[in-house]
């Protein structure tokens, strides 16, 4: 039992904090968001230089073989700065499919380009009817010689508008909600038959609605076993959720700091409003929610690489419940305690609120995961 960072991990955290401090002030972020792709290619190159884009990959592919803890450190720092770049989409989701389902050839071909910053990914999975059920897929893939032809519609694909490559999930057999018959493909973002409608999301990121019409994929574009890809999807998504939990903790921590600072400086009735007990207790309730969320983000991190899929799913679901609830409470209270200024687009805190709100909606909100846990009757195992 040891919660300390190793020397390498401390260095990673320091270099991240330095980069974020220099390059990710609130105004700088605003200018990145206004660029055509909604994020900064220049910063992406800096991420690559620092080795951040290779964090979870094997050294022979240009990575540094980091684990879930390294990812947690990076994501928490990104959460603190509301980083816009497609790290989750590319490194953790796209890269995750390669790490867990990619052939030796796919990994050797694609991962080095991810790690050096020349290739971005997005995960085209959600469909209009699927909500949060990973197995609910209508997009079809039918064989075409040695390859496949894809038809269907994917929605709310985060960073899907600019991604060089898309991971597309599709059904090669079975009915809409069957667990079997699911496959995953890597296709080019600009492949013939792919049309993308990009848009900004509520929290300042980018999303896309993607239509696949007669899209041809060669055999080299198949990830894992066609028909048996659901376990890979679940594993990658679980790692993604663990990472999102860490990002949310970073964002929540900033909201709490901003709020406490505001309570100490804002004066009304001739005194700092932080001298009022009702506001002090609210700030304490926010702290408790933050620490409980941090604990569960750590738990999700610890369990993200768990080989027992059922235990991993339960742990990650429990973390997502806590993050969703804490995020909502901290976000809403941060706005409330700031009063009018918290409502303005100009001030930071609302942007953090929007990000944690949207994190709750990614890969299942708190109620979704609570329902899953309740159905499975599963408390996450002890440490």
């Amino acid at each position: 039992m040891d919660f300390d960072l190793s020397e390498e991990q401390r260095l990673l955290k320091e270099s991240l904090d330095r980069l974020i401090g220099e390059r990710y002030a609130f105004d700088q972020r605003k200018s990145y968001a206004q660029s055509p792709e909604g994020w900064s290619r220049e910063l992406w190159a800096q991420f690559a230089e620092l080795g951040l884009l290779g964090l979870p990959f094997e050294e022979r592919h240009g990575g540094s073989a980091g684990g879930p803890v390294e990812t947690m450190i990076a994501m928490e720092a990104f959460g603190r700065a509301l980083v816009l770049e497609p790290y989750l989409a590319t490194i953790l989701l796209g890269g995750g499919f390669l790490r867990h389902g990619g052939s030796a050839q796919q990994c050797a071909h694609l991962i080095p380009k991810i790690a050096d910053g020349s290739l971005t990914f997005a995960f085209a999975h959600t469909e209009r009817q699927s909500r949060y059920d990973l197995h609910d897929i209508e997009t079809r893939a039918v064989t075409d010689g040695a390859g496949w032809v894809l038809d269907g519609e994917k929605g709310v694909v985060v960073h899907g508008d600019s991604a060089d490559k898309l991971i597309v999930t599709a059904r090669v057999g079975g009915g809409r909600r069957d667990r079997g018959g699911v496959a995953a493909f890597i296709i080019d973002g600009k492949a013939a038959g792919v049309s993308r409608r990009g848009y900004p999301t509520q929290d300042g990121l980018r999303g896309a609605e993607i239509t696949l019409a007669n899209v041809r994929v060669g055999p080299e574009g198949v990830v894992g076993e066609p028909g048996g890809a659901l376990p890979i999807i679940e594993r990658v998504v679980d790692e993604g959720i663990a990472a999102l939990c860490a990002e949310a903790v970073g964002a929540m921590a900033v909201m709490h700091e901003l709020t406490v600072e505001y309570l100490k400086t804002r004066r009304q009735f001739g005194r700092e409003i932080g001298s009022f007990q009702i506001l002090q207790h609210r700030a304490v309730d926010m702290l408790i929610a933050l620490e409980q969320a941090r604990s569960m983000a750590m738990f999700a991190t610890m369990m993200a690489a768990e080989e027992n899929a059922a235990e991993r799913r339960n742990a990650v679901a429990a973390a997502k419940v806590q993050i969703g609830r804490s995020g909502k409470f901290i976000g809403q209270q941060a706005i409330q305690l700031h009063g009018g200024i918290g409502m303005t687009m100009e001030y930071k805190v609302g942007h953090y609120f929007k990000r944690v709100t949207m994190i709750d909606m990614m890969f299942g909100d708190a109620d979704h995961h609570l329902r899953q846990l309740a159905r499975r009757g599963a408390a996450p195992a002890a440490a």
């Binding site: 207790h281 702290l287 429990a318 309740a374």
Partner: protein, 401 residues
């Protein structure tokens, strides 16, 4: 960072677990599982078993009979006590007055009292709260007037837990009525057999007798029973109140209660199926389980951070543990209450001083103690510094408000 227990820690846990299984009388364990009260003898028997093993005062320095365990081992030990479940060593001696004596007491006091605490030869109780000094503890008025080689104590303590069994009481008393309120307080050890002491029971809402009023009427206390220096008692009290960093959240106790909830909800039929299959009930249970898991991780973070601590000051994070821990404990008593349903209604006393105590059970044989436990557990957000006081502490000590 490695958030799992090491193989050595796991082996330690197995040893502790095996010892508890082999040595705890089943009758005591059953009482705890069923939520029944322990007799004084149960607690004494168990503490002497632990003492023989060298585990009665695990948290003390080795010199005074402690184990020298790491904070993680101490945590595991506490957790296993709660999971078994086994009685906790009597806290008033082991985690309160013992450590205060070790830190501030005289050699004579240590030699005289510490071994008797470990073996529960002396049953200690705590004389802090007074009718006019609850959350505002420092406003206490029980007075000790120095006369030659002794003090004369007059006043009243209240909420004195298990004073009916006690041989000794450690008291905060006012020795300087002129000083600022925190500065005129001393820490005094008083023999409960001294003439002038009266103990009067307070019956709490569930019908039980845990707490008491203790009256002091010209009670003569030898001056050698003063701990540390006169008028420094407030410092010692703060030390005492902040000592309990591990185990305060009682994660193991809530885990054991959740196990019990599941066990009983599986046999209790609601409509055409066991209650445990009811979707709404399952979601409520899952909600508590998620919170408990988060609390367990928070607790482990505090425990793991302890080896970096050089001071003996309380970790303000322990206030978080107290708040969340008590809330979750209460939530488990509510769920258990829900499980029992209409048979929560019959009042079935289990105290031998009630003539109905030995009548056959009404309804399911496990129903009796469940409503009383729910009512009784409302105390947890009040005692040990109310949760509102804990929030004041966090606001000041952590947030700087």
């Amino acid at each position: 960072m490695d958030l799992r227990f090491t193989p050595e820690e796991l082996a330690f846990r197995d040893d502790v677990r095996a010892f508890f299984r082999a040595n705890l009388p089943e009758s005591i364990r059953t009482k705890l599982v069923e939520g029944k009260h322990l007799a004084k003898d149960d607690i004494v028997t168990w503490q002497r078993t632990l003492n023989k093993k060298g585990w009665a005062v695990a948290n003390w320095p080795v010199q005074w009979g402690g184990t020298g365990w790491t904070p993680v081992q101490q945590y595991i030990f506490q957790e296993e006590l709660q999971l078994t479940p086994a009685p906790q060593p009597l806290g008033f001696g082991v985690t309160m007055v013992g450590p205060v004596m070790i830190a501030f007491g005289s050699e004579a006091q240590k030699k005289r009292f510490l071994p008797r605490i470990a073996n529960l030869d002396d049953w200690w109780c705590q004389g802090f709260s007074e009718p006019g000094a609850g959350s505002d503890l420092a406003s206490l008025r029980t007075a000790a007037r120095r006369e030659d080689d002794h003090y004369i104590v007059n006043g009243q303590k209240t909420w004195t837990t298990l004073a009916q069994h006690a041989d000794w009481i450690f008291c905060l008393v006012r020795t300087d009525p002129q000083a600022k309120k925190q500065e005129g307080i001393s820490f005094l050890l008083i023999d409960m057999k001294t003439p002038g002491i009266t103990v009067r029971p307070i019956v709490t809402i569930e019908g039980g007798h845990e707490v008491n009023e203790v009256f002091f009427d010209d009670v003569k206390v030898p001056a050698e029973n003063l701990v540390g220096q006169e008028n420094k008692g407030w410092d010692y009290a703060k030390y005492l109140l902040g000592r309990e960093r591990t185990g305060i959240a009682r994660v193991g106790l809530s885990k054991e209660r959740i196990r019990r909830i599941k066990e009983l909800a599986a046999v209790e039929i609601a409509g055409d199926k066991p209650l445990i299959e009811d979707e709404r009930f399952r979601e409520k249970l899952a909600t508590v389980e998620v919170e408990l898991k988060a609390l367990e991780m928070t607790q482990l973070r505090v425990v793991a951070a302890e080896r970096h601590r050089t001071d003996n000051k309380p970790d303000p994070a322990s206030s978080i543990l107290k708040i969340k821990g008590s809330e979750i404990q209460q939530a488990t008593t509510e769920l258990l209450f829900e499980v029992v349903g209409p048979y929560a209604l019959p009042y079935q006393p289990e105290h031998e001083d009630d003539e109905r105590w030995n009548e056959p059970p009404i309804g399911p044989e496990w129903a009796g103690p469940i409503a009383p436990t729910y009512f009784n557990w409302r105390k947890t957000t009040i005692y040990g510094g109310t949760n509102e006081i804990q929030k004041n502490i966090i606001a000041k000590a952590i947030l700087g408000l």
